[in-house]
């Protein structure tokens, strides 16, 4: 047992860190540091920089652009990326549909989609949740009726992140109306330009418009766009959901946010001294740092164990729960740090407001929206309650 990184791993970390320092455009880094919303262009720009370096899809097979790194190196890469802080690659392509296509897709699908995912030539979104199917995903109702060489898709998806930018959507649909729940589900790739698709934005309480409803009204999808076999979609979905292991805890992101918190707490004054010198506030930060360090070690243990197992690790539920709790705790401390300047609303929508100076300190504006928005991290990707069910059943056998 050697708990430290090897010299090779340290050299790799330094290489990644130097790359992040040099290659990440300053305006993107600034938005990330300040917890501001990114534009589509920011994500695309950064993904193409990574792709040019050969680091767009490290975890894919080398044949499709992967790097062949060990799990530890993949961890280091992701950690350094988040700490830069750089944007996470758009997950719907590289982490979700990409690996599904690699594992279950046709050669044609691979050739058509994988390179364009790696370079973010196609923006993907995820069509799983429906109004009646949230935690109980298998009760979804969207239908795909076979008609010659096509499916005709009808139904509605919801909570579809960045559907407004998307070129493609991957969907779970029911091709077999007779089959029960999990058995009747198929996995389709659908071009968002197909007639009959309507996207309606859902504004969230932070003022953002990142999620959408997507309506399908007699949308014709070529049968060749089905992944794998008909009625096997549930298996592919489980593969996809269990696959999202690396980085689910967002440790690097939380580190970067805690750095930001400390910067802000050094600038804010409480009474006659900087807030960071208030013993109670400093202690609150330290308490989160302890949990985060512990989670980092837990993550490393999961990464190390990944060498020895090939299926999704139920311990990743621990990473999801604790990681989201820490992210939310940091978002609360950021909110507390700015005190009354949590109040003014940053109105990103009004173009004429962009040129006015912010109300209060320039670091305050994004932090209340960040706090509101970050409530999502304990809800999406399987709520923390669902994760505890998984732990109780899969790990504890209860």
């Amino acid at each position: 047992m050697d708990l430290r990184f090897t010299p090779d791993e340290i050299a790799f970390r330094d290489e990644v860190r130097a790359f992040m320092r040099d290659a990440l455009p300053a305006p993107i880094r600034r938005k990330m540091v300040e917890a501001r919303r990114l534009e589509k262009d920011d994500i695309v720009t950064w993904q193409r920089i990574l792709n040019a370096r050969g680091w767009a899809v490290p975890h894919w097979p080398v044949a499709w652009g992967g790097t062949g790194w060990s799990p530890v190196k993949q961890y280091i890469f992701h950690e350094e990326l988040q700490q830069a802080p750089a944007p996470d690659p758009l997950p719907f392509g590289v982490n979700m549909v990409g690996p599904v296509i690699i594992a279950f897709g046709s050669e044609a699908q691979k050739r058509r989609h994988l390179p364009r995912i790696a370079n973010l030539d196609d923006w993907w979104c995820q069509g799983f949740s429906e109004p009646g199917a949230g935690s109980d995903l298998a009760s979804l109702k969207t239908t795909a009726r076979r008609d010659g060489d096509s499916y005709v898709v009808n139904g509605q998806k919801t909570w579809t992140t960045t559907a407004q930018y998307a070129d493609w959507i991957f969907c779970l649909v029911r091709a077999d109306p007779a089959a029960k729940k999990q058995q009747g589900i198929s996995f389709l790739l659908i071009d968002m330009k197909t007639p009959g698709i309507t996207v309606r934005p859902i504004q969230t309480i932070d003022g953002g418009r990142e999620v959408n409803e997507v309506f399908f009204d007699d949308v014709r999808v070529p049968v060749e766009n089905r992944v794998g076999e008909e009625n096997r979609g549930w298996d592919y979905a489980k593969f996809l959901l269990g696959n999202e292991r690396t980085g689910i805890a967002r440790i690097g992101t939380s580190k970067a946010r805690i750095r930001r918190l400390k910067e802000i707490a050094a600038l804010e004054r409480a009474g006659d001294k900087p807030l960071i010198e208030d013993e109670r506030f400093r202690t609150k930060i330290a308490a989160v740092e302890v949990e985060l360090k512990a989670l980092e070690m837990t993550q490393l243990r999961v990464v190390a164990a990944a060498r020895e197992r090939n299926e999704p690790d139920p311990a990743s539920s621990i990473l999801k729960i604790k990681g989201s709790e820490i992210q939310q705790a940091v978002s609360e401390l950021l909110l507390e740090a700015i005190g009354p300047y949590a109040l003014p609303e940053e109105t990103h929508d009004d173009a004429d407001r962009w040129n006015e100076p912010p109300i209060g300190p320039e670091w305050a504006g994004p932090l209340a929206p960040h706090y509101f928005n970050w409530r999502k991290v304990s809800i999406y990707g399987g709520s923390n309650e669902i994760q505890k069910n998984i732990i109780a059943k899969a790990i504890l056998g209860l």
Binding site: G134, P340, A342, L343, T347, F372, R375, K376
Partner: protein, 386 residues
Amino acid sequence: MDLSLTDEQRLLKESVERLLMDRFGFEARQRFMAEPAGWSRALWQSYAELGLLGLPFEEKHGGVGGGPVETMIVMEAFGRALALEPFLATVVLGGGLLRRGADEAMRSALIPKIARGVLLLAFAHAERQSRYDLADVATTARRDGGGYVLDGAKTLVIHGDCADKLIVSARLAGARRDRDGLGLFVIDADAAGVSRRGYRTVDGLRAAEVVLSGARVGASEILGEPGKAFPLIAQVADEAIAALAAEAVGAMAATHEMTVDYLKTRKQFGVPIGSFQVLQHRAAEMLIALEQARSMALFAAMMVEEPDPTERRRAIAAAKVQIGRSGRFVGQQAIQLHGGMGMTMEYKVGHYFKRVTAIDALFGDADHHLAELARLGGLIGAREAK
């Protein structure tokens, strides 16, 4: 001790609740937000007609002579409705400073107008550097004949953008955080030397930044004794906290009801999600947090007129701590139990969450008041001193 409402209180409660139910649904609220002021002038007149705008004032000034319990009843109803109007700014803060601090001439000149709904006030007090310290005032008041000249910048002036008059705190003497040396001045919002920038706050209400550059106030615009304003400011800030505590309880109660309803109706895995024990217990824990907050809103109403300012401060600080903590828990868990639905602008529960979050950041957050309470020795003294 008697916790039942008097007949008058029950009537007040019913009439304000009925008015809000009729006129202030969630859709109406969205409409009112889009009005120029960000709230409804028409509704404000209805408040006046119902006597709400004269609630805490003497009858000779057109008021109804209500006390903290009446304010609590109205604020709780506002909290349930997510009201947008400048009641806190005009009646509780502005009206509170006037009725407690102004001479009879100023009171009889201004309070009747408040009660009639034709005068809006705002309290321009906080400054960029002051955070939650009520004594931290850098704005200066320089003597000038019988009046003063004000210079400085005020921030986060609640409903300062629509106010007809501003009550401005300024320093006549002393260092920046001294409690001595503060004065209060009532100035027309469009007077020379006063400039404002209005904006929306995260909870859908309004505030303003105010800059004073050589703004002149005459002798008749001085509120109370110049240099001695701090105890008045502290008293009225505590009254605002007591009012906000009741508003937060209204918001939390509505949040909790919506959440329990959602648990009963939303189905997953073929059953209402309220059949899952973990969510049942969460709802029970939310109820406990709500009831503890309600108790402290009551305690705040009971103690806000306590003559001993330290006892009052302890009690109000404790109430703000409980309101902040309960509010955060109830709001966060309501979002969690609603899932994605709770995160949307189209659904009311997220707006309650934002209002309760904003209330925590008004007049000192839970952490601030907890520290102050600890500095004052807590709530439980030695036995005989009780």
